[in-house]
Symmetry: C2
Subunit: 325 residues, 2 copies
Amino acid sequence: MTTLIPTPTFDDVLAAAARIAPYAHATPVLRSRALDAESGASLAFKAEHLQRIGAFKFRGACNAVWSLDDATAARGVVTHSSGNHGAALALAALGRDIPCHVVVPEGAVRAKLAAIEHYGAILHRCAPTIAAREAMCAQVQADTGASAIHPYTDPRVIAGQGTAALELLTAHPDLDALVVPLGGGGLAAGTALVVRALAPRCKLYLAEPEGAADGARSFASGVLDHDFVPETVCDGLRGTLGALNFEILRGNAQVLTADDAQTVAAMRLLWTRTKQLVEPSSAIALAAVRAHRSHFQNRKIGILLSGGNVDLDALPTLFALAPGA
Amino acid sequence: MTTLIPTPTFDDVLAAAARIAPYAHATPVLRSRALDAESGASLAFKAEHLQRIGAFKFRGACNAVWSLDDATAARGVVTHSSGNHGAALALAALGRDIPCHVVVPEGAVRAKLAAIEHYGAILHRCAPTIAAREAMCAQVQADTGASAIHPYTDPRVIAGQGTAALELLTAHPDLDALVVPLGGGGLAAGTALVVRALAPRCKLYLAEPEGAADGARSFASGVLDHDFVPETVCDGLRGTLGALNFEILRGNAQVLTADDAQTVAAMRLLWTRTKQLVEPSSAIALAAVRAHRSHFQNRKIGILLSGGNVDLDALPTLFALAPGA
């Protein structure tokens, strides 16, 4: 059986913006003289680490939850992400007062599970394999009638993630380029829909870890290439680029990679200069700007700071990659 | 020879606000549902870590620099603080295009000196004793005619620091209490001038490290008590309470102490919940609220986040004081 997934459009992003407005924060755009001077560009940082649950993921989850008709919504939603999407979906479901089921593998980080439970989600534990997670998800769907909301290939999620760029480009319509982290491609694809419609002369760059560069390889070869084992400190970017996401992005964006040392150095700069606690998966966008300076000199650049959920106990390991001066 | 130091007034704070407006940021007031729930109070955080140089200190230094008449200003300013006040005075002097001299002890932290030099100040090195620093300061004054600007006993500095509370109480006139870190007392005294004039029913609490509790002892005995060796991670609060500051504060404020473990735990909470990188000397205000809950339950509380200049390389040592759950 094949399910035809509809490709989301810019109109879907506009509808998402109206739908999530009562629940999501319109996050600020931050500036830093020091980072402008250091990078040789004019940088506008969209502060999604200040979004609810500390990441842009709330936008997509919220749009998906509020896109359901009442009867479908009443049966709840389900996902198998134990990261930011799990927390985002739980909080969105709590806002609509419907059940949220999250399938979590044995061994998942306790602090993340506590956050998901804090928002009232029901946890379903399974073995730490993809097969076990999908089987458990299917079981929950069969038992409850809950709607599965995929973290990044769901068109409602993609449209919701696009609302961050919609806010940024509405406030700063003259950006020469926009730099967005690339993982599964939900944020990237949503952003591409907005750039194409609102600012076609603005270049879209996707910042990807060298240790999880399936996107870069897929763009280079023209076909999705998932044959890799991710190894990067950007824990939000270890997922593989989705097919729908790739379809939306190809021809509309360019991938730039940065290694983990560059990413941690950029994170330290952001912490020190802006006092904003962003996670490595956010800092990679600034790392890409610094690693590929020729694309950005004297330009107006939008940078999407995607989240701020840092594991503080892992900082010594992170900082060892890029010690201070 | 005795110099009569004029006690600053609320009018001086108003004048300072007008004087520094072209140079200093009007910092935002931040809220956090999670921290409200955790503390059982309604918390309004004045974000001075987003002030220029990353600390409220720029307000006082800027007011002092722009209070000088042109001829006096042209001869420059001098201080012997190698911390935030040194950087603040350097940036303020740069804004007026006058010389700034900073006397620094051998062995001072290189990163801090680099920041001060970055703003164009002239460094004068001396032996790491108070006598050597004061002698070198006097020498610079004699050689150049520069005006000495003390980090916290100078009435222009006190009036300048008061502008942070002025902004906070103007935006939130109904606060039941205000909590401010206590070190030398520049910020505390400036805040007291504002609270007394604008919100006399608002209680002023001073948060002080247990390991540098000269303020608590001075308030208890009624006389300044400097007989201690500070031992605290709050590096901005190791100075001793100034006489003028004590005079302004006594009868108008109450000291609450917190130990370093409580302060680091509060800092971790602030980082995790608000994604704001505040330093221990800031976090102690929230630590005091959490350590003395009965004063604050169900009240509207203003918390002055004084700065965000954290030494990232010292984090493992800090976090060891209050490990994560």
